[in-house]
Symmetry: C2
Subunit: 499 residues, 2 copies
C-alpha cells in the first residue's frame, strides 16, 4: 500500500509532528507516573501534563492547521490519507464543541477525584466518593450535550471510545448474548465437576520465579526486547510510544498466579498491535491501533485463546510448578484452574463467562445515570441488587463493589462496553485463523504474521466496520457463544442445548 503522497496531507503531517511530540512525551510521563515515579512527584506531574494538554489543544485549533484539514477534506485521498483526516476531524470537532474552560475543569476534577476514589476505596466508604462522582457524571452529561447525539446522550459518550457505537447496538448485543451465557453458567454450576474454588487460587507463589516466568512467556512470544519491555504497576496496562518502543506492565499478588500470567499475556496482545503496525504510520494521527474494540479483541485473543489453552499451560507447567514452591501440578489441574468458572465480585478476576455480566451491570448503570433515570447516590444499592440478580453474589465491601474500578474516577463513562465487544470479536479471529490452519500449535509465528498482515499493519487506517469488511467478516457475538459452549461443556462434562 502506498501511504501519504497528497501535498496537503504531507503539510498537515509535518505540522502534526509537534502535536505528536506533545502526546509522545506526555505518554512517557504517564508511564513513569504508573511505574517508577516517587509518590510525592504526583503534584508537579499533574500540573505539567495538564499544561501540555492545553498547549496541544491550542496547536490543534491553530487556524492554519484547521484550514489545511478542511482543504484536504475536499480532495481525492487514498485510505491512509482519508483516515488521517477522519481521526484529526474527530479530535478537532471535540475541541471545537467542548469549551477549553470545560476541558480544564474536567481535567482538574478527575485529578482530584482519582485521589478521593483511592481514599474512599481504602476506607471502604462510597459516601466519600459520591460527590466527585456526581460531578463527573454531571460533566459527562454536559459533554454529551456539547457533542450532540440522536437517541440517547449516552451514545455521544460511547462514540468517544468507539466511533459510531450506540447504546442500541450494545443493548442488542447483550440481549442476544447474556441469556445464553446465563444458561451456560447455570449448567456449569449445576454440573458434578463444578467447584466454587480451586486450591491454586490460595497457593502462595514466589514472586521472583513468577517474574522470570512472565519474562519467559513474553520471550517465547516476542524476540525483540530492544523495542519492548515489561514493568510492574498497581494495575496492568499497555502504552506505546511507537512501534519501536511499546511497553506493558503486569502485577503480582501473594497468591493466585494465573492473574499475573493472564494479565501479562493480555497486555502483550495489546502491545503486539502497536509493535506490528506499519512504520509509515509512525508519528502520524493513525499510528498504532485506535479502535478500543479491535484493541481488546487482540488482548482477549491472547489472554483467553492462547493463555487459557491446554497447549500453552502445558508448555509452561514446569515453571508454574517452580513458582508455587514445587507443589505438584498436573496439566489438567492447571487447566481447570485457568478456566475455572465461578461468579465473583471483581471484574478483573472474572472468568470468560461471568465477565460480561460485570460489563452489562456497568453499562446499565452508566446509561441510566446519563439518561437521568438513576441518581449517583443510589448507585451503590443498584450495584448490589444487580450483582445479586446477575451473579448471585453481593459485595460486603465497597472496594469489591461500586468502588472497584478506576474508570469513573478518571472521568471515563462509556468505556466499559468495549471490553465485552472486543472479547466477543476475539473469538471470531480465533475461528478465522483456526479455519485457515494458522492457529493450532504453541508456535505462534504464523498467528502473529496473520494478525500483522490483516489487522496490525493498518494501524488506525480503518474503523472497526471497515476492517471487518476488509477481512470479509461481520461482527457476530454468536461465535464467542459457540466457543464458550463447546469449551465449557467439555470441561464440565455436560451437553449444551441452546435455548
Amino acid at each position: 500500500m502506498q501511504y501519504f503522497k497528497n501535498p496537503t496531507i504531507l503539510k498537515i503531517l509535518d505540522l502534526y509532528k509537534d502535536i505528536w511530540a506533545l502526546s509522545y512525551t506526555s505518554a512517557v510521563n504517564h508511564w513513569d507516573l504508573e511505574t517508577y515515579m516517587p509518590s510525592k512527584g504526583v503534584g508537579a506531574r499533574g500540573e505539567a501534563l495538564g499544561r501540555l494538554a492545553t498547549i496541544r489543544q491550542r496547536m490543534f485549533l491553530d487556524p492554519a492547521f484547521v484550514k489545511l484539514i478542511n482543504l484536504a477534506d475536499k480532495q481525492k485521498l487514498n485510505d491512509p490519507e482519508k483516515a488521517a483526516i477522519r481521526v484529526l476531524n474527530r479530535e478537532f470537532k471535540f475541541y471545537t464543541k467542548i469549551p477549553a474552560k470545560f476541558i480544564e475543569e474536567f481535567e482538574n476534577l478527575t485529578n482530584t477525584a482519582t485521589v478521593v476514589w483511592r481514599t474512599a476505596k481504602e476506607k471502604e466508604d462510597f459516601k466519600i466518593f459520591e460527590k466527585p462522582l456526581s460531578k463527573i457524571f454531571d460533566m459527562n452529561r454536559q459533554m454529551a450535550e456539547h457533542l450532540g447525539y440522536e437517541d440517547s446522550p449516552y451514545d455521544a459518550l460511547l462514540d468517544q471510545y468507539e466511533e459510531g457505537l450506540t447504546s442500541k447496538t450494545v443493548n442488542q448485543l447483550f440481549s442476544n448474548s447474556i441469556p445464553q451465557l446465563q444458561t451456560l453458567l447455570k449448567q456449569i454450576t449445576n454440573s458434578k465437576k463444578y467447584q466454587k474454588t480451586h486450591w491454586l487460587e490460595n497457593q502462595k507463589y514466589d514472586r521472583g520465579e513468577m517474574s522470570k516466568l512472565n519474562d519467559k512467556i513474553l520471550r517465547s512470544l516476542w524476540k525483540d526486547f530492544d523495542r519492548f519491555r515489561i514493568d510492574v504497576s498497581s494495575h496492568p496496562f499497555t502504552t506505546s510510544f511507537g512501534n519501536n518502543d511499546t511497553r506493558i506492565t503486569t502485577w503480582y499478588h501473594e497468591k493466585d498466579f494465573a492473574r499475573s500470567i493472564l494479565a501479562t499475556i493480555h497486555e502483550f496482545g495489546h502491545a503486539l498491535y502497536d509493535l506490528q503496525s506499519a512504520d509509515s504510520l509512525e508519528m502520524t494521527p493513525i499510528a498504532g491501533g485506535s479502535s478500543l474494540v479491535i484493541h481488546e479483541s487482540q488482548s482477549r485473543f491472547w489472554e483467553n485463546h492462547v493463555g487459557r489453552s491446554m497447549e500453552f499451560i502445558e508448555k509452561f507447567l514446569p515453571d508454574m510448578q517452580l513458582a508455587v514452591h514445587g507443589s505438584p501440578l498436573t496439566v489438567h489441574d492447571a487447566y481447570l484452574y485457568f478456566n475455572k468458572v465461578s461468579p465473583s465480585l471483581l471484574r478483573v478476576e472474572a472468568d470468560e463467562i461471568t465477565y460480561h455480566f460485570h460489563i452489562m451491570l456497568r453499562f446499565e448503570i452508566e446509561k441510566d445515570i446519563i439518561e437521568g433515570k438513576l441518581k449517583v447516590k443510589d448507585i451503590r444499592e443498584v450495584w448490589n441488587t444487580k450483582m445479586k440478580e446477575y451473579l448471585g453474589v453481593v459485595p460486603k465491601k465497597d472496594s469489591e463493589g461500586v468502588l472497584q474500578d478506576i474508570h469513573w474516577s478518571g472521568g471515563s463513562v462509556g468505556y466499559f462496553p468495549t471490553y465485552s465487544l472486543g472479547t466477543f470479536l476475539s473469538a471470531q479471529w480465533r475461528e478465522k485463523m483456526s479455519n485457515k490452519q494458522i492457529f493450532k500449535s504453541t508456535n505462534y509465528d504464523k498467528t502473529k504474521a496473520w494478525l500483522e498482515q490483516n489487522i496490525h499493519i493498518y494501524g488506525s487506517i480503518y474503523t472497526m466496520d471497515e476492517l471487518l469488511k476488509k477481512n470479509k467478516m461481520k461482527y457476530d457475538p454468536s461465535v464467542n457463544l459457540n466457543y464458550l459452549q463447546e469449551k465449557y461443556s467439555k470441561l464440565y462434562e455436560f451437553k449444551f442445548f441452546s435455548q
Copy 2:
C-alpha cells in the same frame, strides 16, 4: 524571605509554567532514555525531544512574554524576582542571538555525533569521530561569535555553563593549583607507602550486595524515598523534576566497588541540592541549583569529604566485605583503597589529586581549538603528549584517551572547568562547617541542615559570587590544596613543604 509578589513577575511566572511544563516533561523523557528505554526507541525519542525544544523556544520568544520581561526588568524587585529575570534574560538572549536554524542544526549534529562517538569508541578509532567533532567545534566557535565575548571566544562558551566564568580566571586558578598538586603527587609517588595499585581494585564484587549497599548508604543519608530514587545507567547522573521528585543513577562494573559507591554518593550530593531547595521556587525559572560550580561543590563534598572519609568507610565496612564475597577487610586497608592516588588514564576514575590534571588537559585543548590554535585532527596527538607530560601515562586505546568523555559528542565545549572549580569549592564548605563543629561525625543531619539553610534553599536565586558573599566567603582554591596536603601527607607518611 518573601518570594514573588511583584504583579508583573507573577504574570511572567504564570506564563512561564507552560515553558516549565515542556522542560519538565522533556527531562522525564531524558531520564527514561538513559535508564529504561528499549534501545530502538531512540529515533522517535530524539525527534520528540527536538520538537519540544523548538516549541519551547517559540514560547520563549513570544512577544507578549518578552514584553513582560522587559517591563519587569525596569521595576523594583526583590532578590528572587531579580533572579528570575536574570535567568530568563540569559536564556532569552541566547535565543535571540542564536538563529533558530542554527539551534536545530546543532541539535541534529549532536544527536548524530553521539551515535558516531559510541561507534568510534567501540572500534577504538578516533578517525571515525574526527569529522563530526570538527563540526561540533566549528559550530561552537560560531556560537561564541553569535554570543559575543571580550577576550577569547572560549569565554562565551564558558559563560554558557557558569555565568561570568572566563578563561583568564580558569587559567589563574589552574596556574595557582596545578604546580602544587604536581609537587604533592611527586611526594606521594616517591613515598615508601606508595602503591601503584590496590588489591581491591581487582576484586570482583556481588552486584546484588552492592546494590543493597548503595541503597543502605542512601537511606542513611536521606529518609524520604517518596521523593527520591536511584536507578542504573551507563554513566551516573542526577536529574530533578522538582524537589518532590529528584533521581540519581549509579553504575556497576565487575570489580572496583568504590567506583559504584563514590558515584552514588557523588550524585546524592547533586540530588540533595534540588531536594532541599525552597518549595516557593518550584516551577519557576530559579527552581533547584543552577550554577554548575556550586552544584559540583555539593557532589564533590559528599563524594570526597564524606564518601572517602575514615568514619564513613568504617560505618559501611561490614557491607563492603559482604559485597566482595566476604574477603576480609580492615578499615585502614579500605581507607587506603578509597584514597589511593595514582596517575591513570580515565578522568572518571581519577583520585582527588590527579583529577585536575585531566580537567586542565581538556580545558587547554578546548581553548586552543576554539581560539584556532589547534586543529581537531591533531587532538589525539596533543592529548597523548599532554597525558605523558602531566600524568606520565599514555593511552594505548582511544577509548581510554581522547574518546573517553561523552561531553564533546553532546556538543558541550566549556563544561569541564566547572568540575575542578566545584571540587576546589567543596573543600571550602568542608572547612566552614568543620569550623562550626557541624561536620564532624557520621550523623549528617546537621551538615544537611546547614547546606540547606545556607545554599540549597536559595535554588538559583544567587550567582556563585553572590552566594559566596552571602556566606561571607571568597573563592579560594588554596583551601582545597591545604586539605589535600594535610590528608595525603598523613596517609602516605611524608612531610609536606609547600613551594
